[in-house]
């Protein structure tokens, strides 16, 4: 460890510990399941970057959405995201969450993921190589250092807009809002 790092650790140990131990929720959402096992096993070892798969969303703080998102999967993704504790980071993996990718004209996949949950970074590719995943993770570290990886704060601030988008797509949602919306928000402020 060089002197810069020691300084950073002493000034803000919580942020440094958070950055170097991003635990990924194990959810294979789409095509990208094929490049996750190579990333977490011995050849492209993700644990040296601190990234480790964990069993439940309550234990994880990195959510990698690997590949395209269908309508049923989006419901599961929103519920999983809302169960993760703060601070949490989302990374869109592949070109399908960005703008629909090669299924741009499919009636069952969503086209822009960041209209439903906040996304901190994107990794392009179809499928991205494991080296691209690690470049993405180190870039996320830089964003966390500068304080720009604030997806979870944006979710809290703009929750009404996200919830409205989710309801426009699905109709009535069968889980209650995570943060107070509408009249309850006014009550809470007072």
């Amino acid at each position: 460890m060089d002197r810069n790092q020691i300084g950073k650790w002493l000034r803000n140990p919580a942020k440094m510990a958070n950055k170097y131990s991003l635990h990924a929720v194990y959810f294979c959402t789409g095509c990208g399941i094929i490049e996750i096992p190579p990333v977490i096993t011995t050849r492209w070892d993700a644990e040296r970057f601190g990234v480790l798969p964990v069993a439940t969303p309550r234990q994880g703080n990195l959510f990698m959405i690997t590949g395209y998102v269908s309508l049923k999967t989006l419901k599961a993704i929103i519920r999983t995201y809302e169960q993760m504790p703060d601070p949490k980071y989302t990374v869109g993996f592949g070109s399908c969450p960005i703008n629909g990718g090669m299924y741009w004209d499919s009636y069952n996949t969503i086209k822009h993921l960041d209209r439903y949950i906040p996304v901190d970074g994107w990794i392009a590719g179809c499928m991205p190589r494991p080296e691209a995943v690690f470049v993405g993770v180190t870039h996320l570290w830089t964003l966390i250092d500068k304080g720009k990886a604030d997806g979870y704060l944006r979710y809290r601030k703009n929750y009404a807009a996200y919830r409205r988008n989710q309801e426009m797509l699905f109709g009535e949602l069968d889980w209650s809002p995570l943060y107070p919306v509408g009249d309850e928000a006014e009550e809470a402020k007072r």
């Binding site: 419901k75 499919s106 009636y107 069952n108 969503i110 209209r115 797509l169």
Partner: protein
């Protein structure tokens, strides 16, 4: 086997037309209410593998064509003879306005998810099917999505294009 199959089919059932075998494929056309009986007959003749139940939408002719694809498993351990490579396509036609067929689950138990899928994606009703509930789709569509008059690009534009981005 092939020649006897053809003569046997034509002798046993009225209204059944057999073409082929050509290029390893024999095509059998039958009226829609006789499908379970013809399938049972073909199964007794040794075609015990129902590989596929498919549906083609001939919108210009106003009909759906439902295809049952049969091949055989093996008769014994060393029989890799050329006769076993026959593919039999049993086809029937139903009108597009109110398509309905009898389910073949009593004959072939593995036809159950195929019929559910055709019901969901094309709108063909199968009588006698124990659970004709949605298999893949999350919502109900006005026009079943695999029909030729469902324009998927227009649907995408209308449903997903109308959701605004969240501004900061």
């Amino acid at each position: 086997m092939n020649a006897s199959l053809r003569t046997g089919l034509e002798a046993t059932f009225k209204g059944v037309e057999v073409t082929g075998p050509r290029d390893g494929m024999m095509s059998v056309s039958a009226p829609s209410d006789s499908i379970p009986v013809v399938l049972g007959y073909l199964k007794d003749q040794g075609l015990d593998h129902l590989a596929l139940v498919s549906c083609v939408d001939w919108i210009d002719q106003g009909k759906f064509e439902v295809i049952y694809l049969l091949t055989c498993y093996m008769r014994n351990d060393t029989d890799y003879s050329a006769e076993q490579r026959l593919h039999v396509l049993l086809r029937t036609e139903v009108p597009r306005e109110s398509p309905s067929l009898r389910s073949v689950i009593e004959v072939f138990a593995n036809a159950e998810p195929y019929e559910r899928e055709i019901h969901e994606l094309y709108g063909v009703h199968f009588e006698g099917h124990p659970r004709l509930i949605p298999l893949f789709l999350e919502r109900h569509y006005e026009v079943p999505p695999f029909r030729k008059d469902f324009d998927t690009r227009a649907y995408v534009e209308q449903t997903f294009g109308s959701i605004p981005p969240v501004e900061d």
